[in-house]
């Protein structure tokens, strides 16, 4: 009681926030996301099981069927599980990005999103912080997957690959998280998220270079190969694939950075109180 009444400084707070306060806010949002993740063990387990099913079952089954010729960044013939590992790393982030958006729709329905948005910090900062928090969680998931993959003898050419892949994971995580955030602003209700799975996650994943190299796709269907090429997810996969081998693909880097900016800007506009979709959608969630 005394703390409240005697703290006169808080009654007339000075204008704006210091950089330190921005940092406190950002770390608070990341910390909560991490705590939520730790408390939702089934989310962690399913995030790990999904790519492992692809690796241990799908990739093992197709191991002898699909031959992967020597294409950059690989300098020798590689086994199929090695080829699809970057795709599975991106898949973890794709699901995480969409799951974060699911949690934003859920948050909005239960009111948690309103708690975030009623914070006095600028809305772009709050949404970006939420995005960074989701990305951090997705990177943790990817490294957990890589630890298991290590025992399956799927490793980068040198241990440095584990480090050089980190910025690529950060960028692809941001892009996919921003996409999820943009979608979350467009989804009216939780049930519609099933549609996102069917119309966003599956097409993005299958029409990409995650499971098969594009030259293979082109042999079967040139237009599908073009579709795969313009799919931002392909570039997230390639960025990760090359970074895992300590290399950079400038085109993929540019696409991923560009898409991140576009998706995030779209999400910030969509969550803007005066311009966004929330206002057009109808009455507030009660």
């Amino acid at each position: 009681m005394t703390a409240i009444t005697s703290d006169q400084a808080a009654i007339k707070p000075r204008r704006g926030f210091t950089l330190g306060q921005y940092w406190i806010c950002l770390s608070g949002i990341v910390w909560r996301e991490a705590l939520r993740f730790l408390h939702q063990r089934e989310r962690f387990v399913s995030a790990l099981v999904r790519p492992l099913v692809w690796l241990f079952i799908f990739a093992a089954g197709f191991r002898s069927v699909l031959g992967v010729s020597i294409i950059p960044p690989y300098e020798t013939y590689i086994l199929y599980p090695v080829y699809i590992t970057p795709g599975l790393m991106a898949m973890i982030q794709l699901f995480n990005g969409m799951q974060s958006s699911l949690s934003m729709v859920y948050d909005r329905e239960t009111g948690n999103m309103r708690t975030l948005l009623v914070s006095p910090f600028p809305r772009w900062f709050l949404l970006t912080s939420k995005l960074l928090a989701g990305t951090a969680v997705s990177i943790l998931q990817v490294y957990a997957y890589l630890i298991i993959a290590y025992f399956w003898e799927i490793t980068p050419p040198s241990p440095w690959g584990y480090l050089t892949v980190l910025p690529a994971l950060a960028l692809s995580g941001l892009m996919l998280g921003a996409l999820g955030m943009l979608l979350s602003s467009l989804i009216k209700q939780l049930e519609n998220f099933a549609g996102v799975m069917n119309f966003v996650i599956f097409p993005m994943f299958f029409a990409s270079s995650a499971l098969y190299p594009l030259w293979r796709v082109e042999e079967g269907s040139p237009w599908l190969a073009t579709l795969c090429w313009i799919n931002p997810f392909t570039h997230a996969v390639e960025l990760i694939r090359f970074a895992f081998y300590e290399q950079i693909t400038p085109i993929s880097l540019a696409v991923v950075v560009g898409c991140t900016i576009v998706f995030l800007a779209g999400a910030i506009i969509a969550y803007d109180p005066s311009r966004g979709m929330l206002i057009r959608r109808g009455a507030p969630s009660e």
């Binding site: 009681m1 005394t2 703390a3 409240i4 009444t5 703290d7 808080a10 009654i11 707070p13 204008r15 704006g16 926030f17 210091t18 330190g20 306060q21 921005y22 406190i24 806010c25 770390s27 608070g28 949002i29 910390w31 909560r32 705590l35 939520r36 408390h39 939702q40 239960t110 009111g111 948690n112 309103r114 708690t115 975030l116 948005l117 009623v118 914070s119 006095p120 910090f121 600028p122 709050l126 109180p273 005066s274 929330l278 206002i279 057009r280 109808g282 009455a283 507030p284 969630s285 009660e286």
Partner: protein
């Protein structure tokens, strides 16, 4: 006191502006706010003023526009027209300064049930730029006020509905706001929990001088000395001290006064 919306709005507007000019800013000033969902008009020229240290009740049925107004004040949406000011800061133009002076208890449960009481409060503190050490000190203080200091490490999931509400009130007070908004805070609570929460919020007004806007459709939560704003179908039908509102309609009770004003009746 007039129950004519036009006349009342005009007089409130003058009242609010004169306060701002004199330096004693109203805690909350809603001026000529209208809001549309598509073509549907949810709020129609709504104006009122909440003074610091007053307990004001926004009374209306479901669908009256209370939640829309709440969303506009907390800036989930921007107003279609009109302005909302918190201690003189425009919610649209100077939202950061306005929102940092505002404490909110939403109608929906907004605590994270998987986290502890302290973790929930620390998260809220971070959203206001309050560091961990300070947050802990403040959390202890506000939890003592709502008699839940001993449950600080408890998971929210294990609390009763009334306790969760009290934690939400404690959370709303964590950053020392001088105006507190509560959107139907007693919905779903038993009689005792309801009485506890009403009494606690009234004590905040009396002891700490906090301005409170309490939205409800429950007549028995209104005291005769409270300021009452009757909102119906998006319009303010009456505004003033409860006793005056009743007297102006010629009805013996608030329930009948409301029925007369809105040509409808309140549920239990």
């Amino acid at each position: 006191m007039s129950i004519e919306p036009e006349g009342k709005n005009a007089s409130m507007q003058e009242k609010g502006e004169s306060k701002v000019e004199s330096g004693a800013r109203p805690a909350l000033q809603v001026s000529h706010v209208s809001h549309f969902y598509g073509k549907r008009k949810a709020l129609d020229d709504v104006s009122f003023v909440i003074e610091p240290g007053s307990f004001s009740v926004l009374l209306g049925l479901n669908g009256a526009g209370k939640s829309t107004l709440f969303s506009l004040i907390t800036r989930l949406y921007a107003t279609s027209s009109g302005s909302i000011r918190i201690f003189g800061y425009d919610v649209a133009r100077d939202s950061g300064e306005a929102l940092r002076r505002l404490g909110v208890v939403f109608q929906a449960r907004t605590l994270d049930p998987d986290l502890s009481v302290m973790q929930n409060l620390a998260y809220h503190a971070a959203l206001h730029g309050i560091g961990a050490k300070d947050a802990k000190r403040r959390a202890q203080s506000v939890l003592e006020q709502v008699s839940l200091a001993d449950r600080v490490n408890e998971k929210v999931r294990n609390l009763s509905g009334g306790q969760m509400r009290r934690v939400e009130i404690a959370r709303a007070l964590l950053h020392n706001p001088q105006i507190l908004l509560l959107d139907e805070p007693t919905v779903g609570l038993d009689v005792k929990a309801r009485a506890d929460i009403v009494a606690h919020v009234r004590s905040l007004v009396a002891n700490q001088g906090i301005g409170v806007l309490w939205t409800t459709h429950l007549i028995d939560e209104i005291a005769m000395t409270d300021d009452v704003i009757v909102l119906h179908e998006g319009r303010v039908l009456a505004n003033g001290v409860a006793a005056d509102v009743i007297a102006s309609t010629g009805a013996p009770t608030m329930r009948l006064a409301f029925a007369k004003l809105t040509a409808t009746e309140l549920g239990d």
